[in-house]
């Protein structure tokens, strides 16, 4: 396991560069591409004075490198602008909404992996059978389904028609207040368990399960396809045949050896899957009125709230890069061949 301080330092430095790159690109998008950036920042109903003030605040009369400097310092000092939809600072709104999104995304992701990988492996070892074909069809269809459409249809069926699951929100305030629920970590599922508060736990669970499943379909199907292809490839490699030829039982070869060979690249691609999931969360949160970053971003998009939109883009990009770095570290632990 060649993880040492050097490797971590290298990855951290690389992360800093990536974040800088993200900021520079957003700078180019928001300041250089538009003909009149201040108009985007003030929105369509601004007065002449407001537009002039925006010009000053964005330092648009100064040379580019100074603008970039102010942009960087603003971001790092927490001044991410003010949403003119909510009139609240962008960064604090994002941070408040973060735990809700993380909870939803993590649950969705766990479902996706817990279902997707075993499906992929089963399909691979029973290649050519009707089980394999069924799994392939399912994973192709699932990966072709627009998540927002699936959210609408499932919400229609399960909430509106069958009345089985609630349609919106994270938790029923009435139940929460009457049972004395206090959010600690911001993850309601964990908090309610920690406080032994079963009514809230059940309520939160009922509300999270449908959006989580909808959100999980795309990464689930991606991971099924990938796991299946990887397993087939690994199964054809010489070391699998040699282990079997030396007498190691097939099951052991599969679950001790092949699994690890498959896990390594799957984990390496987890970051990307996570990226798809986060963006899917935008739409799922919007439709299920889940008070997370996705909801905030989607509402901002619908009302053309430019500062909020860009704030969300930067935040999610940074989050994504951090997650990728963590994933890289985990990958290096599993695969000893990873170069430092």
């Amino acid at each position: 396991m060649p993880i040492n301080k050097e490797y971590i330092a290298k990855r951290a430095a690389s992360l800093v560069f990536v974040v800088l790159g993200v900021i520079i690109i957003t700078f180019i998008i928001t300041r250089i591409i538009p003909a009149r950036p201040e108009l985007l920042w003030t929105g369509p109903h601004a007065t002449i004075e407001q537009i002039e003030r925006a010009r000053k605040e964005l330092h648009l009369d100064k040379p580019i490198y100074l603008q970039l400097w102010y942009y960087l310092t603003d971001l790092f000092s927490g001044n991410w602008g003010v949403s003119w939809r909510t009139k609240l600072p962008v960064l604090s709104s994002i941070l408040t909404a973060l735990p809700a999104t993380l909870e939803l995304v993590i649950v969705a992701f766990l479902i996706a992996m817990a279902v997707g990988m075993p499906l992929g492996i089963s399909a691979a070892i029973r290649r050519g059978t009707s089980l394999d074909n069924a799994i392939r069809v399912f994973s192709v269809v699932g990966a072709s389904t627009p998540v927002f459409w699936l959210a609408l249809i499932l919400q229609l069926i399960f909430s509106n028609w069958l009345g089985l699951l609630p349609a919106a929100k994270r938790v029923d305030e009435y139940i929460a207040i009457s049972t004395g629920f206090k959010p600690l970590t911001g993850f309601y599922l964990i908090d309610s368990l920690l406080q032994g508060n079963i009514p809230v736990f059940l309520d939160v669970f009922k509300r999270i399960i449908l959006p989580a499943i909808v959100l999980s379909i795309y990464p689930m199907c991606l991971s099924t396809r990938m796991t299946r292809a990887l397993t087939i490839e690994v199964l054809g490699e010489l070391h699998v045949r040699s282990s079997i030829s030396w007498g190691i039982p097939r099951n052991k070869v599969l679950y001790r050896y092949v699994l690890k060979n498959v896990l390594a690249p799957v984990i390496a691609s987890l970051g990307l899957s996570f990226g798809y999931t986060i963006v899917g969360a935008f739409m799922v949160e919007l439709i299920f009125v889940w008070p997370g970053i996705g909801y905030y971003t989607a509402m901002s998009l619908l009302s053309y709230d430019y500062p909020a939109i860009i704030g969300c883009v930067i935040f999610v990009a940074i989050l994504y890069s951090m997650i990728n770095t963590v994933v890289d570290l985990i990958h290096a632990v599993i695969d000893p061949r990873v170069k430092l």
């Binding site: 490699e237 070391h239 045949r241 039982p249 052991k252 690890k260």
Partner: protein, 326 residues
């Protein structure tokens, strides 16, 4: 006459490829006696590796054994289920080392992890300590220096020669009676090659192993084998004791192969070769597959596959010319 430990009878094996069905082995019959080493020699595409893989049933998924039997100690092992093969035969009675030492090992596991798994499977040692010691003992047996370090190393940290030795250690760790060596030295340097051959000879003697050694190199075969079988395009051409074949080759192909070995003492500096190329294995070949390239080809050679006849003690040939001479 020594006992026959492995008897291959009329084996036919096909590969299914994008370009068509490749008939890699067409009716080959061979046997291996206890304690002897048999070399299967042939060009690439002759089907020699396929036979080795078929014995241990480690053929790739697009291959199929369409006909034939393989008897091990009188029992047709082709009829065994996968379970029975794994439990009773693989590693325990018949074992194998492959050509590519690096690809034989799972890159994410140390040598010791694989070795200990094989030991655990076959020898049922309960104590971790005992498994480790046995593993080190096996690594010492194949003359690996610093076995403790190698036990804890990953494949990419070791050289090809070391890995091949480790593979041999793993293959014989459960004390099999038959070892199949599928071109184990082809991917190694010449000096390492010689070392591995010596090692195999030593192990064969010490453990009374019966060996099937697959190679394209007649020189290597001469080094290590008691008997040799010459294959071409899926058919067996000639088979006999190494001295008989070298002194008295009957089949025109065998003769040509011997002529092609570069000799330092020969006055002519030109390298000899056999003009022409292998026939297309996707077609069913009528007659002898070597006929297009054979200097002695007769009409019957293109029409009918010659039957195998015994020309002297355990020296068999499949050739119309030899049949005609009798």
């Amino acid at each position: 006459m020594a006992d026959i430990i492995l008897d291959i009878n009329d084996l036919h094996i096909n590969y299914y490829t994008p370009e068509g069905i490749v008939r890699a082995v067409r009716g080959v019959s061979l046997n291996l006696c206890k304690g002897e080493s048999l070399c299967i020699v042939g060009e690439s595409g002759s089907g020699k590796s396929t036979i080795g893989l078929a014995i241990i049933r480690a053929l790739p998924p697009n291959a199929l054994i369409v006909k034939g039997e393989i008897y091990y100690n009188g029992m047709d092992i082709l009829k065994l289920s996968e379970e029975e093969m794994t439990r009773n035969i693989r590693g325990k009675e018949i074992s194998i080392v492959f050509q590519d030492p690096v690809a034989m090992f799972n890159p994410l596991f140390t040598i010791g992890e694989i070795l200990s798994d094989v030991i655990l499977t076959h020898l049922g040692l309960k104590d971790k300590r005992k498994v480790y010691e046995y593993g080190i003992k096996m690594l010492k047996l194949v003359e690996l220096p610093d076995p403790e370090r190698i036990y804890n190393s990953y494949p990419h940290e070791l050289s090809g020669g070391m890995l091949q030795r480790a593979a041999i250690a793993i293959a014989i760790s459960a004390n099999p009676k038959v070892l199949i060596a599928d071109e184990p030295t082809t991917m190694l340097d010449v000096t390492i090659q010689a070392q591995i051959l010596d090692l195999l000879k030593k192990l064969k003697k010490e453990f009374s192993l019966s060996m099937i050694f697959i190679t394209h190199n007649l020189g290597v075969a001469a080094e290590i084998c008691d008997r040799i079988a010459v294959m071409y395009a899926g058919s067996l051409f000639e088979e006999g004791y190494i001295e008989d074949i070298l002194m008295n080759p009957i089949h025109p192909y065998t003769k040509k192969l011997l002529e092609c070995i570069p000799r330092a003492s020969k006055r002519s500096l030109k390298l000899k070769y056999i003009p022409g190329s292998l026939p297309d294995l996707k077609t069913s070949i009528l007659g002898c597959p070597f006929a297009p390239r054979c200097d002695f080809a007769m009409d019957i050679c293109e029409k009918q596959l010659p039957s195998i006849s015994e020309v002297s003690y355990k020296h068999r040939v499949s050739c119309h010319l030899s049949l005609a001479k009798r």
